[in-house]
Symmetry: C2
Subunit: 141 residues, 2 copies
């Protein structure tokens, strides 16, 4: 189940697929940013104006528990979701703009496993966010 859509993976897991769930699935699948629930609701509402916020919350939670979505928290108190099936990556947050940049670095992945092992643990996941400022423009200094 490598390159399947969110909807296909839902079906594969036997989740009952309603119109609302399909809409939420599509909205997330189409997103290339990291929308919070309110934003998913706004995008879903554009497709079906009578979908409710509660349904969006229930749906993302369901999908998350099914391992289809991954919940992210960037420290602003709102949960964000992304397709769990996408290639693993971490996030760099531009603190000047709030922009989120995805990246992968195998070296850092390996290092994390090594650190966990050193502490007597087996790594099952991690959260890594780099907070940074652009290095380009500003005047001197």
């Amino acid at each position: 189940m490598a390159d399947s859509t969110i909807i296909q993976r839902c079906e594969a897991k036997g989740l009952r697929m309603t119109d609302q769930r399909r809409i939420v699935a599509r909205v997330i699948g189409a997103a290339d940013d990291h929308p919070d629930v309110e934003e998913l609701y706004a995008r879903a509402s554009a497709v079906d104006p009578k979908i409710s916020l509660a349904t969006v919350y229930r749906t993302v939670k369901l999908f998350e528990e099914a391992g289809i979505l991954e919940r992210l928290e960037f420290g602003d108190g709102r949960a964000r979701y992304e397709d769990a099936e996408r290639d693993h990556h971490d996030h760099l947050i531009d603190v000047t703009t709030g922009q989120v940049i995805e990246f992968i670095d195998q070296e850092i992945e390996d290092l994390q496993e090594k650190i966990a092992a050193r502490l007597g643990y087996k790594l099952i996941g991690h959260r890594l966010e780099l907070l940074a400022v652009p290095v380009a423009k500003p005047s001197k200094t």
Copy 2:
């Protein structure tokens, strides 16, 4: 201001020091775990039974904004605080028990800077939590 107490750093920054703030400062300084605000409130209440939860919230926020404390979020919806002056470290969370283990690894710190630089950014901070399970006991596999 390397090895100073939280209270000393508050004074150095010119914060008005009340009894309540001193209590919160001491409670955090004495903690070797990662208490959430409710827990800080419980510990502070043991010293001064009439301190209010609102004051604890106001105080940790004030201290955080002064750069004296660091706010942590382990994904359970509650903010946790620790002394920002302690040596930098990251956290490994034992998902079977919720226990939090602190660690430092210079290699991973350097790598993060390198990654940020590669993306055109200057690293100003990061959040890293490893989620892991103990590797010892279990039977065969």
